[in-house]
């Protein structure tokens, strides 16, 4: 009764990695530009635009205030529109992206705002255009911090994938819930938790290492 086939665990790990990496990738592709727009259009920003900033800012706040489990259910019609189904790993990825993109946008925004204002001043004194400021000054200077941000986002995503089981997403977290919690299988609970701890450790170590390397310390 305590036994669980290694195949099932392996399968769950693949699902987790798949969900996390696809939603992280697309979430970053959406979140990064959003963060840049926030920083550029904010009051006293390089391309100040009150209306654009207000709309973006509120949208991100609204999505971020929804608990993931609610979001998951609320956007079912949208999910169907995008991936053509409402159940399975792909169907879980859509809400994961919607969940993580604003999160990444907010964290990257903070990273960008932490860039020494003197650097922006330098960029302006050199006559750099807004896009040049972003490319040659803001991003390189914020990169280490952005990497740490993405590390945090990745770990947040792993947590969120556990709930993706609700729409049949599978994954390690789901395994813990369906095999362990619902069938009172302590062994599976412990096993999955250990696997999650190891994955989180690896990701955090990797992220910190990369950030350190970029900072030349």
């Amino acid at each position: 009764m305590n036994r669980i086939s290694p195949d099932i665990i392996w399968q769950a790990m693949i699902e987790t990695v798949y969900m996390v990496s696809v939603s992280l990738l697309i979430g970053t592709l959406l979140g990064l530009p959003l963060a840049l727009l926030l920083v550029l259009t904010r009051p006293n920003g390089i391309k100040e635009n009150k209306i654009a900033y207000f709309i973006l800012n509120s949208m991100i706040n609204i999505i971020r205030s929804l608990p993931f489990i609610i979001l998951l259910v609320a956007i079912v019609p949208f999910t169907r529109l995008i991936v053509g189904k409402t159940y399975g790993t792909e169907a879980a990825i859509v809400p994961l992206i919607i969940y993580i993109a604003p999160f990444i946008a907010r964290l990257v925004e903070t990273s960008l705002l932490e860039v020494n204002p003197g650097i922006i001043e330098l960029a302006k004194s050199l006559g750099a255009k807004p896009l040049q400021i972003v490319r040659h000054f803001l991003i390189p200077e914020a990169l280490a911090s952005i990497i740490l941000t993405l590390t945090t986002a990745t770990i947040g995503l792993i947590g969120a994938t556990a709930m993706a089981g609700t729409v049949g997403g599978g994954g390690i977290g789901n395994l813990a819930i369906s095999y362990g919690y619902q069938r009172f299988n302590t062994f599976v609970i412990i096993l999955t938790v250990v696997i999650l701890i190891i994955i989180v450790q690896i990701i955090q170590t990797l992220g910190s290492y990369l950030a350190k390397k970029i900072r030349h310390q």
Binding site: E121, G127, E141, A144, R215
Partner: protein, 341 residues
């Protein structure tokens, strides 16, 4: 080269108006090393930042290299900015890039070729004495080295004007001296006009040929350094001059001359050039050989390659002889002032 005409800059902070710069007019000529000095909050940074468009004046005109910078089109503005470089108090180096890439950055923005960038960056790094540090990152450099990188980055685009906002304020006195020497070389070797702001009179003394004193957003005094150091008019200017030239009379001497006010008259002599001093004192003693004269304090300062001497001398003579002596001293083109004790 840079002309400020009735520049006013107002800021609003929580609906409260702050006049950071109040009707400043000033002209910096080509080849000048022009220093603006003032206490914190005087408006110096605000003023200098208007030259390269980091700040726009509320009213007034700024003419850089013959062009009113506010009437320029955006493209012309960028073109104009290319002639102006800036160095900063906290260096503003990109921590994520090594020394070479930091210096190369302005050229990259201009899409110059790799070979050009390589050549120019190496040339500038050797000018500032950091040719062997090109692969280092800013956090591996000392403050003085960081500012050298800042200077190399500023010069790599062949500017005509260099703006320095407190470029040495974060450095120790010895490093400050070496950076000031480097800036002097920048001015002489490349004929770059330098406009700098500082709150240290020693920086003005060691580097500038012209100086302006700012207080509460206004320009209270300006002129050649020799003129302002020799005869500061406003009390703030005097305070600044006194930080580097003291003509303080030692306490016991002061006590003595205060007690013997009737017998001695104290005069302060200000003159340029060392020879003036020795020949004047010699002639004075020869001509008025019956007058006892004692040097109470003396200070010689090097300014722009010449020396400014300020001597305080006590003479024991009656009023008519003193008047005669003053007239005699003036013939040597030496300024005489009464000293009240």
């Amino acid at each position: 080269m840079i002309v400020f005409k009735h520049i006013v800059k107002e800021f609003y902070q929580k609906k409260k108006k702050i006049t950071a710069v109040n009707d400043v007019s000033l002209e910096v000529q080509k080849g000048d090393i022009f220093g603006i000095i003032g206490y914190s909050g005087a408006g110096k940074s605000t003023l200098i930042r208007m030259v390269n468009g980091l700040e726009n004046p509320t009213s007034g005109q700024i003419i850089v290299a013959g062009k009113d910078i506010q009437t320029l089109s955006p493209n012309e503005k960028i073109f104009n900015k290319k002639k102006i470089s800036m160095i900063f108090q906290h260096f503003n180096l990109l921590e994520s890039k090594n020394v070479f890439d930091n210096v190369a950055l302005p050229l990259k923005l201009r899409n110059e070729s790799k070979e050009e960038i390589d050549r120019k960056v190496k040339e500038m790094l050797s000018f500032v004495g950091l040719e062997d540090k090109d692969k280092n990152y800013p956090n591996q450099l000392s403050g003085g080295q960081k500012q050298r990188v800042g200077i190399a980055r500023a010069l790599v685009t062949n500017p005509e004007i260099l703006l320095c906002d407190e470029a040495t304020s974060a450095l120790d006195p010895k490093t400050t001296k070496s950076i000031l020497k480097l800036l002097k070389r920048v001015n002489e070797q490349f004929n770059i006009t330098i406009l700098l702001i500082t709150h240290e009179m020693a920086v003005i003394r060691d580097l500038c040929n012209k100086v302006a004193v700012m207080e509460n957003g206004q320009l209270i005094e300006s002129g050649n350094v020799i003129q302002v150091f020799g005869q500061p008019k406003e009390s703030t200017s005097k305070d600044f001059v006194e930080t580097v030239i003291t003509h303080k009379i030692p306490k016991d001497l002061l006590d003595f001359y205060q007690k013997n006010k009737q017998s001695y008259t104290l005069l302060r002599l200000k003159f340029l050039g060392e020879n003036t001093a020795s020949s004047l004192l010699f002639q004075l003693n020869k001509r008025f050989n019956h007058v006892e004269s004692n040097i109470v304090s003396a200070n010689v300062t090097e300014l722009e390659g010449t020396t400014l001497g300020i001597f305080t001398i006590a003479f024991s003579a009656n009023e008519s002889i003193i008047q005669e002596m003053k007239a005699f001293i003036k013939e040597f083109n030496v300024i005489v002032e009464d000293v009240n004790i």
